[in-house]
C-alpha cells in the first residue's frame, strides 16, 4: 500500500470532490429519454418480465466514463451537440441537399442522383460528395490575402452556431433568457458581413461584384425580418421562446398575424439565397459570387453555409408562427419528443423553400431591392400595426 504525502493526498481529495460535484450538477439537469435511461418493458408473462436494460446504468459504476456520459446527457451540452445542435444540423443538411436534387429532377423529367446507393434512391449522395471534397486540393491563389482567405469561412461558424445556445427545443435548452429570440436574430444578421469579407479577401473582380450584391441584398431584407419578428413578440408579450410556444397552445401564430408570416417567409427566401432571390451567388452572371476562388474542403464548408442559415431561420419561423414544439407526446422518447416535433416542422419548411428552385428564375438586383423596400415594407408595416393591436388585446387579457 502506497502512503502518499499529506498535501498530495489533500489535492487528490479536492479533485475527487470537484469531480463528484460536477457529476451531481450534470445529473441534476439531465435529459430524460425513457428509451435509454429507464427500463423499457417489452412483454410480460406470468413469471417473467422482459425489458431493455437502460444504457446509462451500464456506465454508472465506471469512474471516468460515467462522468463523460453524464456530461453528454447534461442539457446544455446535449442541446449544442444533438438537438437542436450539430447532429440535427448534419442530418438536416444531408437530407435537404438530397431532397433538393431529387425534387428538381422529378419536375425536370429526369431521375436525380441514383447511382451511389441505388436501392434507397441515392440518399447517401451528399455524404459521397463531402468525402470527395476532402480529397480535392485547396488552392490559394497568388493575389488572395492568405490568412483571411482561409480563416473567414471557419469564422462564419460562430454566428451560425451561437444561436443554438439560446433557441430551445422543448425542454432541452442551453441558456434560458427572456431575450432569446432577439439574441438569435441579432447573431444571424452577422453572417452576411462575414460573407462580404470573404469576397473582399479573394481579391478578384467577380468576387468583388458578388460581395457588393450580397451587401445590397442585406439592405433589402434585414429590416423586414426584424419588423416581422418584433410584431410577433409584441403579440405574445415576451421574447422568451418557451413563453411564446406556451401561448400558441390554442392558436398558432400564423393565424393570428398572417401578414407577418408572409413577410417573414419572403424575407427568409431573400436571406438565404433561395430562388427567386439567388442573387449574390448567381451561377451564370458572377460565377458564384464571393465564393468564386474556393476549392476543396473549404468550398464544401461555404456551400453548406446557406443551408445552415436556412435551418436556423426556419426554426425561428416554426417557433414564432407554427407553434414550435407543440404536438402529441410520444412517451418512449421523453424529452426528445418536443425536439422531434420542432425538427419535423423545420424540415417541412425547408422542403417548401427548396421547392422554389423548380419553377422560378432569378430576379435582378435592383428589382429585388425594389420589392424589399416597397411591397415587403408595406406588408411589414401592416403586420406591425396588427401586432400592436393584438398585443394590446392580449395585455388586457382577452386572449
Amino acid at each position: 500500500m502506497v502512503v502518499l504525502d499529506t498535501s498530495l493526498q489533500k489535492r487528490i481529495g479536492e479533485v475527487l470532490s470537484m469531480l463528484s460535484y460536477l457529476l451531481e450538477m450534470f445529473r441534476q439537469n439531465s435529459v430524460g429519454i425513457p428509451l435509454i435511461t429507464r427500463k423499457v418493458v417489452l412483454y410480460h408473462t406470468a413469471n417473467k418480465i422482459a425489458y431493455i436494460p437502460p444504457l446509462t446504468s451500464l456506465f454508472a459504476k465506471i469512474p471516468i466514463l460515467n462522468l463523460i456520459v453524464a456530461l453528454i446527457f447534461w442539457k446544455p451540452f446535449f442541446a449544442v451537440l444533438f438537438a437542436p445542435g450539430l447532429v440535427c444540423i448534419l442530418i438536416a443538411i444531408l437530407f435537404i441537399i438530397w431532397f433538393e436534387r431529387k425534387v428538381t429532377a422529378r419536375v425536370q423529367w429526369r431521375y436525380g442522383p441514383l447511382e451511389v446507393s441505388r436501392n434507397v434512391g441515392g440518399i447517401i449522395q451528399p455524404m459521397a460528395d463531402g468525402m470527395r471534397y476532402f480529397f480535392q486540393e485547396v488552392i490559394v491563389h497568388r493575389e488572395a490575402h492568405k490568412p483571411y482567405f482561409l480563416q473567414f469561412p471557419l469564422i462564419t461558424f460562430l454566428p451560425v452556431l451561437l444561436p443554438i445556445l439560446v433557441i430551445p427545443a422543448g425542454t432541452i435548452y442551453a441558456i434560458n433568457t427572456p431575450y432569446s429570440i432577439l439574441v438569435a436574430i441579432a447573431l444571424i444578421s452577422l453572417i452576411p458581413m462575414i460573407i462580404v469579407a470573404i469576397g473582399w479577401a479573394s481579391n478578384s473582380k467577380y468576387a468583388y461584384v458578388g460581395s457588393l450584391r450580397e451587401a445590397m441584398m442585406y439592405f433589402s431584407y434585414e429590416i423586414v425580418l426584424m419588423i416581422a419578428a418584433m410584431s410577433m413578440v409584441i403579440i405574445y408579450g415576451s421574447a422568451n421562446a418557451i413563453e411564446i410556444v406556451k401561448e400558441q397552445s390554442t392558436i398558432p401564430g400564423i393565424l393570428l398575424n398572417p401578414f407577418a408570416a408572409l413577410a417573414f417567409f419572403v424575407a427568409i427566401a431573400m436571406a438565404t439565397s433561395r430562388f427567386p432571390f439567388e442573387i449574390p451567388e448567381a451561377d451564370q452572371e458572377v460565377v458564384f459570387g464571393p465564393f468564386i476562388e474556393y476549392t476543396g474542403i473549404i468550398f464544401g464548408v461555404v456551400m453548406t453555409l446557406a443551408y445552415e442559415k436556412l435551418y436556423l431561420l426556419c426554426m425561428l419561423f416554426s417557433i414564432l408562427f407554427l407553434g414550435g414544439w407543440n404536438g402529441p407526446f410520444i412517451p418512449p422518447l421523453g424529452d426528445l419528443s418536443p425536439a422531434l416535433w420542432l425538427f419535423l416542422k423545420t424540415i417541412g419548411l425547408m422542403m417548401i423553400f427548396v421547392f422554389f428552385r423548380t419553377f422560378y428564375a432569378r430576379y435582378r438586383l435592383d428589382q429585388a431591392l425594389k420589392i424589399g423596400w416597397s411591397k415587403l415594407m408595406a406588408l411589414a408595416m401592416v403586420a406591425l400595426i396588427t401586432g400592436l393591436g393584438l398585443g394590446a388585446v392580449n395585455v388586457m387579457g382577452w386572449l
Partner: protein
C-alpha cells in the same frame, strides 16, 4: 409578300391580380410534375436505345463483293478510308475511326453493296493505334465481349396521343446487328 398573313403578337403585361394568378399557375405546374413525373430518361448503360432500321453506325465490309474500284476512298469527306494491298494483288479498304464522321457516303457509293451498316455506334478504343481498323477487323465488324456488356433492356420511344412512353424489351443475345 407572296400571299402570307402577318400575325402581330403582343407580349403580356399583367397587373397585380393577373400576376398572382400566373405565380400560382407556375407553382401548380411544378407541383403536378413533382407528384406525377413524366420522365423520359434512358438510363445508359443499363438501358440502351433501340436503333431504327437504316441507322448509320459502324461499318462492316463484305470482302467477296469488293472490286477495288477506289470510289469509296474518293468520296469520303474526311479522308478516313485508305486502301491497302492484300496478298492476292487487289487493294482493300481500311477505315480510320479517328476521322470517320459516319456520313455513309461510302456505303451509298459502292456499286456492289460491299459496305454494310450496323446498329452499333459506341466507338471506344484503348489506344490510338487501334483506331485504324484493318480489313480483317472490318470483315467481322465491331465485337463486344460478353463480360463487358452491362445492358439489360432496349428502350424505344412510343407516343400514343399525348403520352410519351418508354417501351422496354430485354436485350438481344447479340449486341451488334448488321443491317442488310
Amino acid at each position: 409578300m407572296v400571299n402570307k398573313r402577318i400575325k402581330r403578337i403582343k407580349p403580356p403585361s399583367p397587373d397585380f391580380v393577373e400576376s398572382v394568378k400566373y405565380h400560382l399557375e407556375a407553382f401548380g405546374v411544378a407541383l403536378k410534375e413533382a407528384i406525377k413525373p413524366s420522365r423520359m430518361t434512358i438510363q445508359y448503360p443499363r438501358e440502351l436505345r433501340k436503333r431504327p432500321k437504316g441507322f448509320r453506325g459502324m461499318l462492316v465490309l463484305d470482302v467477296n463483293k469488293c472490286i477495288s474500284c477506289f470510289q469509296c476512298t474518293f468520296v469520303c469527306p474526311a479522308n478516313a478510308i485508305h486502301m491497302k494491298k492484300a496478298p492476292n494483288g487487289k487493294y482493300y479498304p481500311c477505315v480510320d475511326y479517328a476521322k470517320c464522321i459516319f456520313c455513309h457516303y461510302c456505303e451509298e457509293t459502292c456499286t456492289k453493296g460491299a459496305w454494310k451498316s450496323t446498329n452499333f455506334m459506341d466507338v471506344a478504343f484503348s489506344r490510338v493505334e487501334e483506331m485504324l481498323l484493318t480489313t480483317e477487323k472490318l470483315i467481322n465488324g465491331p465485337e463486344v465481349p460478353e463480360e463487358e456488356r452491362e445492358d439489360e433492356y432496349m428502350v424505344e420511344y412510343e407516343i400514343r396521343g399525348s403520352k410519351l412512353e418508354l417501351k422496354k424489351e430485354y436485350s438481344p443475345e447479340k449486341l451488334v446487328e448488321v443491317e442488310d
